[in-house]
């Protein structure tokens, strides 16, 4: 295959610029391969984070021609043969160097979520659950923590409300615990008040960019918003709870369905 030019942002938190690099490509190469060639041939100090080169570790997130992608899963032949390929670090998190950003804010969000709290074991000392009951939760377990969804979410990216919203990745993390058949913890109040479910306007960019094709909005955020409605915004359910005196605890809501 022919030579191609890549425009790569080089710099750090102080500033930087785009630099063009031409490399000779082989068939079937991905953007990460090209970045490795650039490292080998032109810029040994180009910083790129990667690990698996198989779309499973979630390290190599960047913005390729403006689209948040995993660079190890973005094949070069999907671009036009004379299209310039521009590579930027993800926008939402602070740049450390070149294409590497500091995503540690995300780890802090995870710590804010109440951990798994299992119910009592069955009489024989075992836990039991059926496959159909955990399927919903398993979808969320596919997450590779690439943070592309966090990066594209306009609440964090453009509106700068990291103070008010944990972002889509952690909304599905809450969902995966809340919907777990063995879990008895109640996370609905903080979903609204601290984690910020109301900040999301379900414009679905998180779902659009997720490399694991997790239905973040349809299966995670919207169901969590509906649980918040159950608790706070449904006058009939509110009345029902007043009359029956139940509903404070999550278990009582579950037993109805």
């Amino acid at each position: 295959m022919a030579e191609r030019t890549f425009r790569v942002w080089r710099g750090d938190a102080e500033g930087g610029e785009f630099k063009d690099y031409a490399v000779e490509l082989d068939r079937g190469m991905v953007v990460l391969d090209a970045l490795h060639l650039i490292q080998a041939q032109h810029a040994g100090d180009l910083a790129v984070r990667w690990n698996c080169k198989a779309g499973k570790c979630g390290s190599c997130s960047m913005e390729i021609n403006g689209r948040p992608r995993l660079s190890c899963m973005t094949r070069i032949n999907e671009f036009g043969s004379d299209e310039l390929i521009t590579v930027r670090p993800i926008k939402t998190f602070p740049v450390l160097k070149d294409l590497v950003t500091d995503v540690s804010w995300n780890y802090d969000q995870n710590k804010r979520i109440k951990p798994f709290k299992p119910k009592k074991k069955d009489a024989d000392g075992n836990y039991r659950m059926m496959q159909r009951d955990v399927e919903r939760v398993q979808e969320f377990r596919k997450c590779i923590e690439c943070y592309l969804c966090q990066n594209v979410c306009h609440v964090l990216r453009d509106q700068d409300r990291k103070d008010a919203f944990v972002g889509p990745r952690f909304m599905i993390r809450v969902a995966s615990l809340e919907m777990h058949p063995l879990d008895v913890e109640d996370r609905v109040p903080e979903t609204r008040d601290e984690l910020g479910s109301g900040m999301c306007n379900i414009t679905r960019c998180c779902t659009d960019v997720c490399p694991e094709h997790i239905q973040i909005t349809d299966n995670g955020i919207i169901p969590m918003k509906e649980r918040v409605v159950d608790r706070y915004y449904d006058p009939l359910l509110w009345l029902l709870r007043k009359i029956t005196g139940s509903g404070k605890k999550k278990a009582s809501i579950d037993s109805e369905s």
């Binding site: 938190a13 689209r67 930027r88 369905s257």
Partner: protein, 278 residues
């Protein structure tokens, strides 16, 4: 454009995307606007909403009927009878005025419509990885848009409409819409009305709030007895429709408009309705 760290600009609508990202918000925004304009126009016509046995879905149910209007339904179809005298003269006596708010509220609070109009009309964001319209302190749906949480109540109304429009579809198989005495028959209009009910049902029963209410709200689909709850079966069916909710939303909306248009054209004598009665 201010170039900032990482080569990203923070000004409104800036992006590194090189594709035509504006096509989708533009087309959906304009498409919905067309529908709103047509419906508003049709609502103010106050005439030609009935023909043969067909009632336009934009006019159903008929609370009152003004019999002097052209292309009006027979008085027997009115729930409350003759057009009221207290009706202000400046407002056309259109039965649609009473009922359009229901479906409108349902669609405006629908999770899919919200996605599209926040993108097309509010530019928050206009498209993915395209800079949002900047707000001082963005609040999403936690303040002004808190009313979106009434969606499940508009769903109950929408289900009521499905029942009413199903009745209208059955009625369209009887001459003059008279189920008791009218001659049974079938026309192109009957089929148009039936398809309308099918599409609206596909949209309504694929609703996210419905999916939550029928089963999604529980954490366990088979706990206690270990047997699959009925709710899980329902949830699975609704999930199938829900996965295509956007398509159902558009197709059903366009078909509602078309159904009104078809009935209107037949009523005005522009179209000939092929049926077994004539």
């Amino acid at each position: 454009m201010a170039q900032e760290i990482g080569g990203h600009s923070t000004s409104f609508a800036s992006t590194g995307r090189v594709d035509r990202w504006w096509v989708e918000p533009l087309v959906t925004g304009a498409g919905f606007l067309c529908f709103v304009l047509y419906t508003t126009w049709a609502m103010f016509q106050a005439s030609h909403y009935w023909s043969e046995a067909y009632l336009s879905p934009l006019y159903s149910p008929l609370f009152y009927i003004d019999q002097t209007a052209q292309g009006a339904a027979p008085l027997a179809h009115a729930w409350f009878g003759e057009w009221p005298r207290w009706w202000p003269a400046w407002l056309p006596p259109s039965p649609a005025i009473f009922i359009l708010a229901g479906p409108l509220a349902f669609r405006m609070t629908c999770y899919y419509y919200r996605k599209f109009y926040y993108r097309s009309y509010f530019a928050t964001p206009p498209a993915c990885a395209v800079t949002s319209y900047p707000q001082k302190k963005y609040k999403g749906e936690s303040a002004l848009f808190l009313f979106q949480n009434i969606h499940r109540y508009t769903l109950y109304i929408a289900i009521g409409y499905i029942v009413i429009l199903s009745y209208d579809a059955v009625m369209s198989f009887f001459k003059n819409g008279d189920i008791m005495h009218g001659e049974f028959g079938i026309g192109v209009g009957s089929l148009v009305l039936c398809v309308n009910v099918v599409l609206l049902s596909g949209y309504t029963f694929g609703c996210h709030a419905f999916r939550h209410l029928v089963g999604g709200r529980g954490d366990c689909f088979s706990c206690s007895a270990g047997k699959e709850h009925l709710g899980h079966k329902a949830w699975k069916q609704v999930s199938l429709l829900n996965a295509r909710h956007m398509s159902w939303a558009w197709v059903s909306m366009i078909w509602v408009g078309f159904t009104d248009f078809y009935v209107r054209m037949v009523s005005m004598g522009v179209f000939t309705d092929y049926n077994t009665w004539d």
